[in-house]
């Protein structure tokens, strides 16, 4: 049975057993003197003295330092006052070590006297743990606030050193580029020990590499580690810090480290890991944010947001440069203020804020932007903000405008009828399309191999060209060759010496306009023209070529028309003169033959009478021919403007005039429904007269029957005059309408049909015959329903 020292009278036997067996150190002392009255074994062990020694001592003897002793007294006094007190008490043990003990004091006032009971627990470790944890918490906060990996590394090794008492510690971080664990931080003490330069460890190498690889704490109690073999380190351990690196600590003696040390180190490693993670996360976050910022700020458009009141809350993107504004001028301003001068924007804002998705193209003066806005609704369905994008569509708009311009130009070009007008118009159009460019057109003369400057844009003063060589390009010179190439050529590095003029030309496009000439634009900047410009020039040059072709063609047509008119007039003039001049001799023959017949009737013999008859008959026929020739000659020069003519009336009039002739032949003329046409009334009657007369003469010998009818042919009326005569042999039909037809068996003047044909031609109709021997003859002719007044009316 263990003996306890001290005053056994204080405790009964049971209490004494309890007292002595208690694992908790118990001291009983005199509160006034501090004299230790009794202790148990646990106390003795705790304090490091024998029980016998202890009962000779005072509590003050193992309070380290005067201050501590003073404090102790106060605490004891406190306990006396209040009855209990719990405090931390530092005890110096017999071997000199200092422990922290938690002491619970109880004041007992008993018969035996006043006693102070002290229950003592070694809380050194606990306190240390508490302290370490608190410190680590503080370090944690510091680490989380750290901004660099280096800071964290330093904080870690400092903490390892000062908080956990791992004086020889180092932190290695994994470098993915080198695939090595490199030293990031090291305590002074460690640095001193591991005296050589610290090389990086490979993954798997040494305790550090192994810890990292295996993701577990590795101990070393053996200096077999190559790296540590020639150092004083005799034991070490390495704690992995996630995938970032390793915290290592070493000691100069074997088994330097307790479990608690390792636990603390692991805790620290966790904190370090968190901190490093945070840094990594922050870095990634920052990088990502920067990436997004870069994207947003450099996007070739404008990204913006406005709040429910129309205030601009966000504005990003390079697109704003085009408008000449800066984002900071916009953010915080109201859309309605900033864009007060641009109503379409205000309207769009109104509509978007009302909940509508809108898109529109807006003119900002020097650029066109396409704005698209989307309202963002909150949970109640109200518009919370509007997000918008603005894209520069100036180029597209310009192209649109260019096309519109080109279309307009095409129309204008089609209305031009002079060569010089066409050329000037093209230069004007080109000047419009290509701002600031110098436009020139070099025309090729008809008969020579030269290109002469015909027109230039208004930004060139033609008067400055005093030298002929500036205005003319001979065959063979560089510009001529470009014309000969026949294709559009762009030269963005033009050598100004190629042209004789002083103009500083560094870019040019040459577009031949067919073989009419060369259209060119030039700029004083090099690289001024792109393929789109080349295409436009090609189109313009083709326009011009087509227009010039058309103008030439028109001129040729006019020439032909003129020649034709001239020819008509010549012919009719000739016919008139010839027939007129023939009248007089005819008159002589005709008149005197008549007189002869009359005055010498009965005085000449039958033979003479017969001679006279033939002569008179010949003269009569000649007269008819001359009249017909005269009629023929006057068809165009004396033609009237077409007017509405009732064909029925015209035929009636004609029949009246032919009454005698019809009666003489005992003919019947019938006709059906006849329409109204647009024609020269006199000439129409002439046609009917000739045809009816012919029909009457060539019809059946006894009572010829003539039929007139009309058929609707769609775009014209077809009239037919039919006789019941012997018909016209096919071989004679070809020359029927010729003016110089030799008299066929049918007789007649032979000019009548030529007159009909000419008149029908003048009316843009057709005339033809339908006949066969023994089957009668039908003459058909058409009069178009709407007849345009043809040329040839004369005013004399």
């Amino acid at each position: 049975m263990p003996t306890s020292g001290g005053d056994v009278a204080v405790l009964g036997e049971l209490e004494t057993s309890v007292f002595e067996a208690s694992p908790i150190a118990i001291l009983v002392h005199d509160p006034e003197t501090g004299e230790i009255l009794t202790v148990n074994d646990a106390a003795a062990k705790l304090i490091g003295y024998d029980v016998d020694q202890l009962v000779e001592m005072t509590v003050g003897d193992f309070s380290p330092g005067d201050a501590a002793q003073e404090q102790a007294k106060r605490e004891i006094h406190n306990a006396v006052e209040t009855g209990t007190n719990t405090l931390d008490w530092r005890i110096r043990r017999s071997d000199g070590t200092i422990i922290t003990a938690e002491v619970q004091l109880r004041y007992v006032d008993s018969d035996g006297g006043k006693r102070m009971l002290a229950y003592v627990q070694d809380v050194t470790d606990r306190r240390k743990r508490e302290r370490v944890l608190n410190e680590l918490q503080r370090v944690a906060t510091e680490m989380m606030e750290a901004e660099t990996t280096a800071e964290i590394a330093d904080l870690t090794t400092d903490a390892a050193d000062t908080i956990i008492d791992l004086t020889n510690s180092s932190l290695r971080l994994y470098n993915p580029e080198t695939d090595r664990l490199e030293v990031a931080s090291i305590t002074e003490s460690a640095e001193a020990i591991v005296s050589k330069d610290l090389p990086p460890y490979e993954v798997g190498e040494g305790i550090v590499g192994t810890a990292f690889e295996r993701e577990e704490v590795i101990f070393l109690d053996d200096p077999a580690d190559e790296q540590l073999s020639d150092t004083e380190i005799r034991s070490a351990f390495a704690v992995p810090i996630g995938s970032y690196g390793v915290l290592a600590a070493g000691g100069t003696s074997r088994r330097s480290f307790s479990e608690a040390d390792v636990e603390f180190a692991k805790l620290l490693a966790n904190l370090t890991e968190s901190a490093l993670q945070q840094i990594e996360f922050n870095r990634k976050y920052r990088e990502r944010t920067e990436e997004l910022e870069t994207i947003l700020n450099n996007a070739p458009l404008v990204l913006y947001a406005i709040d429910e009141d129309g205030m601009i809350t966000e504005s990003r993107g390079k697109g704003l440069d085009a408008i000449g504004l800066e984002h900071r001028e916009l953010v915080g301003q109201s859309t309605y203020d900033v864009y007060a001068e641009i109503p379409p924007i205000l309207e769009m804002a109104d509509r978007s804020l009302a909940g509508e998705s809108v898109s529109d193209i807006v003119d900002f003066g020097n650029v066109w932007m396409e704005l698209t806005q989307e309202p963002v609704l909150d949970e109640q369905g109200e518009v919370e903000q509007v997000i918008g994008v603005a894209v520069d569509v100036t180029e597209q708009k310009e192209i649109e405008q260019q096309f519109a311009s080109l279309s307009e130009s095409a129309v204008k070009m089609s209305e031009v009828h002079e060569l010089s007008d066409a050329v000037e118009l093209v230069v004007e159009i080109a000047e419009d399309l290509f701002h600031d460019a110098i436009v020139s057109y070099w025309g090729r003369g008809r008969d020579d191999d030269r290109l002469v400057l015909d027109a230039t844009s208004s930004n060139i003063d033609m008067d400055e060209y005093t030298d002929e060589s500036e205005v003319v390009h001979e065959a063979g010179d560089p510009v001529w060759q470009l014309y000969e190439e026949g294709t559009v050529i762009t030269d963005n590095e033009f050598d100004p010496d190629k042209t004789a003029s002083d103009a500083e030309i560094r870019s040019a496009i040459f577009a031949p306009a067919g073989d009419h000439g060369l259209l060119s634009i030039a700029s004083s900047n090099s690289g001024a023209f792109d393929p789109h410009d080349e295409q436009l020039m090609g189109i313009m040059a083709d326009f011009l070529a087509a227009t010039l072709d058309r103008i030439e063609y028109e001129a040729q047509i006019r020439e032909y028309q003129h020649e034709l008119e001239q020819s008509n007039q010549d012919l009719e003039q000739f016919a008139y003169v010839a027939s007129h001049d023939l009248q007089e001799p005819l008159r002589m023959v005709s008149s005197y033959m008549s007189l002869l017949e009359e005055e010498y009737r009965g005085e000449l013999d039958d033979e003479a009478d017969e001679y006279i008859d033939y002569a008179v008959d010949g003269a009569d026929r000649m007269r008819e021919m001359i009249n017909a020739l005269l009629d023929y000659s006057r068809i165009h020069t004396h033609g009237q403007d077409p007017e509405l003519v009732h064909v029925g009336d015209a035929v009636e009039d004609t029949l009246d005039e032919l009454r005698m002739h019809i009666d003489e032949h005992d003919a019947t003329v019938e006709y059906g429904q006849l329409p109204t046409v647009t024609a020269d009334p006199t000439q129409l009657r002439q046609v009917f007269q000739n045809l009816i007369k012919n029909a009457v003469e060539h019809g059946a010998d006894d009572g010829p029957e003539v039929t007139i009818s009309a058929t609707d042919d769609g775009d014209c009326w077809e009239f037919s005059v039919t006789d019941d005569g012997d018909g016209i042999p096919v071989e004679d039909q070809g020359r029927l309408f010729d003016i110089f037809q030799t008299g066929s068996a049918s007789g007649g003047t032979g000019i009548g049909l030529a007159v009909c044909k000419r008149i029908v031609s003048r009316h843009e109709g057709d005339i033809w015959v339908d006949s066969a021997e023994g089957e009668g003859t039908t003459f058909h002719f058409t009069v178009p329903k709407a007849v345009a007044a043809t040329g040839g009316e004369s005013d004399d």
Binding site: H580, Q583, E584, L586, R587, M588, S590, S591, Y592, S594, L595, A619, R623, D796
Partner: protein, 147 residues
């Protein structure tokens, strides 16, 4: 044919074509009005006759002049102009009788104050017809200026 009646009318025919002259004469012979036809063959003789100059001193002033336009020495238009400019002669009715149908000739003739313009017919029947009408109109119905 009826006999012509009344005092004979003096008619001057200025015509260079003898064939045409004869036809006119023939037609007049067959006409209704008694007349004396005098013929001159060029413009100069026409004026001399009218002015009763030289060989024509004894001739009386004609009641009607039939004037061809195309004559040698002086053509019809010049003669017309002179006649109508001469106070003594301007009252005499002048009927242009010509083969020309040209509008210019017609216009000019009237501008020069011709009293009428007729185109020569193509045959004798035509002549008869035209002369008949001239007689009807100019020599019968129309009041001629007094001497």
């Amino acid at each position: 044919m009826t006999e012509p009646y009344g005092d004979p009318v003096e008619i001057l025919l200025a015509e260079d074509n003898p064939g045409d002259a004869k036809l006119t004469k023939k037609a007049l012979e067959r006409g209704q009005i008694a007349n004396n036809l005098h013929v001159v063959t060029d413009g100069v003789e026409t004026l001399k006759f009218l002015r009763q100059e030289g060989d024509y001193a004894d001739e009386s002033r004609p009641d009607l002049v039939l004037l061809d336009l195309n004559m040698p020495r002086k053509d019809g238009k010049e003669v017309l102009e002179e006649i109508k400019a001469d106070d003594e002669l301007k009252r005499i009715p002048v009927v242009v009788l010509t083969s020309s149908e040209a509008e210019e000739d017609i216009i000019q003739s009237y501008d020069l104050h011709a009293n009428a313009y007729l185109t020569k017919p193509v045959d004798f029947d035509g002549f008869l017809d035209i002369i008949g009408r001239i007689e009807d109109f100019w020599l019968t119905v129309v009041k001629r200026p007094p001497e």
